[in-house]
Amino acid sequence: MYNRRGLLLGAAALGLSGCKVLDGANEKDSALRGVFESVSNLTYRAQRLLGGGHTLAPEYTEADIRQGQRPNGSVDPDGEDYLTLSQSGFAGYGLTVTGLVERPLTIPLAGLKAMPSRTQITRHDCVEGWSCIAKWTGVPLSAVLNEARPKTTARFAVFHCYDVLERSLSGEVKYYESIDLIDAYHPQTILAYGLNGADLPVANGAPLRLRVERQLGYKMAKYVHTIELVDSFATYGLGKGSYWADRGYEWYAGI
């Protein structure tokens, strides 16, 4: 009885103190946030359990493409290295695959385009809430990884990008992302160089961006220059495996 009354009083107090009541959860390492984040693992496991390895994201038809792909996040990288490449139409670009692989390699853009390609019309879902349907053409990530032959100890693919998100006294913070090898070998996971029948525009990640169709947009790193196979991403950025995961978003962005 008293517990129930306490609960009711607690609920009333929450209402009275307005919506600042959970502001403590903003603090990354707070106990309160820890409580809420404790279910993130449950969310992840539920998605893996239901989705298994290779269920396919829905694909759409040409008729469903009614607008250009909306660019978001970095749309115009201004790093010296990137500008040099873009001014020459990315002729000097090469994708480096390194880390826990038997055969580290660098594949020029023309080489990637010469590999078997996959074209898919899919829906891009931003964590903000919007969706946009577009046609993506690229090389399956699995094909690139097969060339490099990941070692058995490899668990994640880390994508290093050209775009700089923050500049401060302590240096530049560049975009990075990571996915596990289940998603890396998913048939719809491609390194896209084409969008809606044309070359991938700079605003959408030229010359090469990732598509991971069962996750939200921020997982699909743009301006990728290096893929590093690792057994842990703890030493990158703030250790959560992605620029946005370091800033409080879920590493596995399936919802």
Binding site: M1, R4, R5, L7, L8, A11, L14, G15, G18, C19, K20, V21, L22, D23, A25, N26, R33, V35, F36, E37, S38, V39, S40, L42, T43, Q47, L50, G51, T55, L56, A57, P58, Y60, D64, R66, Q67, G68, R70, R123, D125, C126, V127, E128, G129, W130, S131, C132, I133, E213, R214, Q215, L216, W244, R247, G248, Y249, E250, G254, I255
Partner: protein
């Protein structure tokens, strides 16, 4: 009034019903306010698979624009009809915050999509878990049956509507038909729709159950339904509070806190 004029106390709500009721109340409170935080990241609702940027498939937009003077003007556009909502929607607060729903209605109170999502998913799990426990317990203890209107109930519907309109409440062992319809539509329609449209917004769940997307008419329509169900649940909450106050708040609160409910004294059989 002599004690004998009071009807008897009956044990009306099982501990399962009472406990889950309060857990839901807390969950829905936080789900709504974190939901508004999430909505603020993209404050418009669309129909179809995608959000129209180069074309218009929005049914609701909340935004801000420069007014004729220095001040910002908040606006809300519903089906193309625009109204000024400065101070409440679009632009609000002492600092003229440019955000759809005001800080007073979001959790956390600052702009943080990441934190809003973490808390939203936490309470979504609690809600789903509690609903599952409630469904099993209520199937076993017979509570589910009490929520489904019978044919006799439905025949009495016009009378019940008339009674409610005159604020003439009968306190009986069973729910009246309007109560049954209200509770059943929340528990069997609104909350399941909330969960399913929420899941339909998940790209990973779309790969598991693409038919669900088709059922709702696309991800953005699912998002719109999710929002409209929230509005519906607020409507339920308001009516729920008014009815409790009108029907006798002490008795109603006692029954949902302790289970014991005082029914009207027997009077020649016209009770139910």
């Amino acid at each position: 009034m002599p004690e004998t004029d009071k009807g008897p106390l009956i044990y009306r709500q099982s501990r399962w019903t009472r406990a889950t009721h309060w857990v839901w109340a807390v969950c829905l409170f936080f789900l709504m306010l974190t939901g508004l935080q999430i909505f603020n990241a993209f404050p418009s609702l669309h129909i179809g698979a995608e959000s129209g940027f180069d074309y218009d498939n929005a049914i609701l937009e909340i935004g801000a624009r420069q007014g004729t003077d220095e001040n910002l003007v908040g606006f809300t556009r519903v089906f193309g009809l625009e109204i000024e909502t400065t101070g409440l929607l679009g632009v609000s607060g002492p600092d003229q915050d440019v955000q759809a729903f005001p800080a007073a209605l979001t959790i956390p109170s600052n702009r943080s999509l990441a934190t809003g999502r973490v808390i939203h998913f936490f309470f979504a799990w609690v809600l789903v878990g509690t609903l599952a426990i409630w469904a099993v317990a209520s199937a076993l203890n017979g509570h589910l049956r009490t929520l489904v209107p019978t044919l006799a109930d439905l025949r009495g519907l016009p009378q019940d509507v008339a009674d409610h309109a005159r604020l003439r409440f009968h306190h009986t062992r069973n729910y009246n038909v309007l109560q049954k319809l209200a509770y059943a539509s929340v528990l069997f329609v609104a909350l399941p729709l909330m969960i399913l449209t929420g899941l339909s917004m998940s790209p990973s769940f779309n790969a598991v159950a693409p038919w669900l997307l088709d059922l709702f008419g696309g991800r953005q329509t699912a998002r719109t339904i999710h929002f409209l169900m929230m509005v519906g649940l607020i409507g339920f909450f308001v009516v729920h509070m008014v009815m409790i106050l009108a029907a006798g708040p002490i008795n109603e609160l006692r029954s949902i806190l302790t289970g014991w409910y005082r029914i009207d004294p027997e009077k020649g059989g016209d009770d139910v």
